[in-house]
Symmetry: C2
Subunit: 355 residues, 2 copies
C-alpha cells in the first residue's frame, strides 16, 4: 500500500487528492477558504498517506521559529544543577507555554557561545549576565534577534531584568556586621562565560560594591590586608561549595561567618562543615544569596537574600514576546524587589569591638 519510503509532501497530497497545493494548504490552515467536500477529500487523503505538514518548511515560509532560546550561562551540566538558573528557566518556560512556543536551551557550540548565537534557530533570546560590548551582543544585533538579559548590565539598548544587587548585598553584609561578625570570608561567583574583567557592571562586581559600602561603615574593607575579610571564588555548584567549605576550614584565620553569593554554594559549605563536625551556626555562621527552595530544607535553615528567580524569567520573557511581536517596551530596564530572609544559619557573636 504505502511504500516505506520517505514522507509525503504537500505535492503528493495535491496529486493524490486531485486538488492543488493551495487547496491542501488551506485544508490544514484555513479550512473555511475551501469547500467542505474539498476539505474532506484532502484531509482523508492526507490521513491515508500519512501526511503531516513539515513544520520546518512551514516555519521557514512563515519566517518564524515558534521557539525562544535560553543561552546557558555555563556548560549545560552546571546550569542544570544550579537551582537559581532552573527557577529562571521555569519562569521563562511558563511564558513560552502560554504563548505556544517551545523553549530552546542553547549550550555553547564547540566552546563558542558566539557561534551558538549565530546559528540559533529561535525568534528571540534570553541571556544571563550579558554586558554591553560583548561579541554576542553584536551578533544578536546583526541578526536583528530580539533579546533580554537577566542579571546583566542595565543599558539603554539592552532590555534587562535585575534586582538591586548592590543594595541587597549592602543589606545582607550590614546584617552580618550587626550580628557582631568581623572576620568574614566572601565566596564570590566566578565571572561566567560571558563576563570578564573589562566589564565593570557585572553582578559580582555590583555585589562587591555593596559589601564594600557596608564594610566601610564598620571600618573594614574587602581588600583588608590583615585577613579579617578574605575573598574566594567558586563555581555555582554544590560540589564547589563543599570544596570552598574545605578551604575555609583550613584557613589559619578562620572566619566567624561565610558569605556566599549563591545559596547552592552556601549549602555546600554547610554540608562540608556538618560532615566535619564544625557546627553551624555555633562554630561558624553561613549566609547565602537567592533563597532557593533548598535553603529551607537544610538544617540550619539558611539566612539569605530572596530574589524572585522565577519572576525574573517571567518578566524577561514577557518583554521578549512583546519585542517579537513588534511592540515597544514600556521600560527597557526592569527591577524586581528583593527581601532579606533571616533564618538560623547566621548567629550573633560577641563583636570584636567589645574586646
Amino acid at each position: 500500500m504505502d511504500l516505506p519510503q520517505k514522507r509525503p509532501t504537500i505535492k503528493d497530497i495535491a496529486r493524490e487528492s486531485g486538488y492543488s497545493k493551495t487547496a491542501v494548504s488551506f485544508a490544514f490552515n484555513e479550512p473555511s477558504r475551501i469547500s467542505a467536500k474539498a476539505r474532506d477529500i484532502i484531509l482523508s487523503t492526507a490521513d491515508r498517506l500519512g501526511y503531516i505538514p513539515d513544520p520546518m518548511a512551514r516555519n521557514f515560509s512563515l519566517r518564524r521559529h515558534l521557539s525562544i532560546g535560553f543561552l546557558l550561562p555555563q556548560i549545560i551540566h552546571y546550569s542544570m544543577r544550579n537551582p537559581y538558573t532552573l527557577q529562571v528557566i521555569q519562569g521563562i518556560g511558563s511564558v513560552c507555554q502560554k504563548y505556544g512556543y517551545t523553549l530552546t536551551l542553547i549550550p555553547p557550540l564547540n566552546e563558542s557561545i558566539t557561534d551558538a548565537v549565530r546559528s540559533a534557530a529561535v525568534d528571540g533570546l534570553i541571556t544571563m549576565g550579558m554586558q554591553v560590548g560583548m561579541d554576542i551582543v553584536d551578533v544578536m544585533k546583526t541578526r536583528k534577534l530580539p533579546f533580554v538579559t537577566i542579571d546583566g548590565t542595565p543599558s539603554e539598548d539592552m532590555p534587562s531584568v535585575n534586582i538591586a544587587d548592590e543594595e541587597a548585598s549592602y543589606q545582607i553584609m550590614r546584617l552580618v556586621l550587626e550580628k557582631g561578625h568581623r572576620c568574614i570570608t566572601i565566596i564570590s561567583l566566578s565571572e561566567d562565560a560571558f563576563e570578564s574583567d573589562e566589564f565593570e557592571a557585572s553582578v559580582p562586581k555590583r555585589r562587591k560594591r555593596g559589601y564594600e559600602r557596608a564594610l566601610k561603615e564598620f571600618g573594614l574593607s574587602l581588600y583588608d590586608l590583615d585577613g579579617s575579610v578574605t575573598n574566594m571564588v567558586s563555581e555555582c555548584t554544590l560540589e564547589d561549595g563543599k570544596h570552598a567549605g574545605h578551604l575555609i576550614s583550613k584557613l589559619r584565620n578562620r572566619p566567624t561567618c561565610v558569605m556566599a553569593m549563591s545559596d547552592i554554594v552556601a549549602i555546600g559549605c554547610i554540608l562540608y562543615f556538618k560532615e566535619n563536625s564544625i557546627r553551624v551556626p555555633d562554630d561558624i555562621s553561613v549566609v547565602g544569596f537567592d533563597n532557593i527552595i533548598e535553603s529551607q530544607l537544610i538544617t540550619p535553615a539558611l539566612t539569605t537574600v530572596d530574589q524572585p528567580a522565577q519572576e525574573k524569567g517571567y518578566l524577561a520573557s514577557e518583554a521578549l514576546f512583546r519585542m517579537i511581536n513588534g511592540e515597544t517596551l514600556g521600560s527597557t530596564h526592569m527591577e524586581i524587589p528583593f527581601t532579606i530572609i533571616e533564618r538560623q544559619s547566621l548567629k550573633e557573636v560577641p563583636s570584636s569591638d567589645e574586646y
Copy 2:
C-alpha cells in the same frame, strides 16, 4: 551607509561582492572550494553589510534542525520543579552539547501534546512514560521522527530506558515490612498526561505490582479493606507532598510508614510533619523513590531507591543520536541498575506480628 531595513541575504552579498551565491555559500561553509581572494572579498562584504547566514534557511535546505526535543511530561511549571525530571534533562543536555545540538523543551501546545509533536521543529524526541498505542506514538511514526522513551513501556518498536521498577519497588517495600511496618500509606504518582487506565505497563502500575508482591509475602495486600494499606495519589511537587502529609496526618488509622513513589513528595511529607510536630521517623517513617540530591539535605535523610536519572537521560539521548545518524540500536530496551539507599527516615518498629 547601511539602511536599517531588513537583514541582507546571500543574494545581497553575491551582488555586492561581485561573486555568485554559490561562492558566497562556499565562503562560509567550504572555504577551500574557492580562491583566497574570493573568500576575502566575500567575507569582508558580508561583514560590512552585517550578513549572517539565516540558520533556518540553512537547516531547511540541509533537512535538519540540529536540535532534539524533550516532551515535557507535565506542564512546564511542574516539570521544572521536579528534580528527577531535571536530572534527566541534565543528562540529555550534556549529550546535546557534546554533539553540538540544542535541546528544545516542548510543552503541550494549547493543552495538546499531539499538536505539539506534530509541529515540533526537532530531529528526534525524548519522551517520558510513553505507552504503546498512544496517539503521540502514531504521530512520531508518521513523521518518521526518531524517539526514545524514558520510563515508558518496553516494546520492540519503541526504544526505551528503564530501571527494573517492579523489582525496586518490591525491595523497598520488603525493607519497610522487615522493619516491622504493617500500616502503610502508599503515595502513587499520578498517571501523567501520557498515561491512562488502558495502559497496563505504566511505571506506577509496575511499581504497584512490586509492592503487591512484597505485601503478599507478609499476608497483606494493596487492596486490603481493613485499612492497613491505604493508597493516595499526588502530583510530583513539593506542595503536593505537603498536602499528602496533611491528609495522612488526618487519617483515622494513621500509618507508621509513608511510602512515596517520588522523593520530592516524600520530602514534602516530611516537611509537613516537621512543621506540625509529628516526628520523623519516631512518630512516622517516610521512604521515597529517586534519590534526588535533596534527599540528603533533609533531616532526617531519606531512605529511598536510587535511580540514576541523569544516566537515563544520557543513555536515551545517545541512543537517539544513533538513530538520527541512521545507525541501528544494539538493544532497543535499555535497563539501568538501581540501589536501595538506607538512611534515617525509616525506623524499625515493633511488628504487629509480635503482639
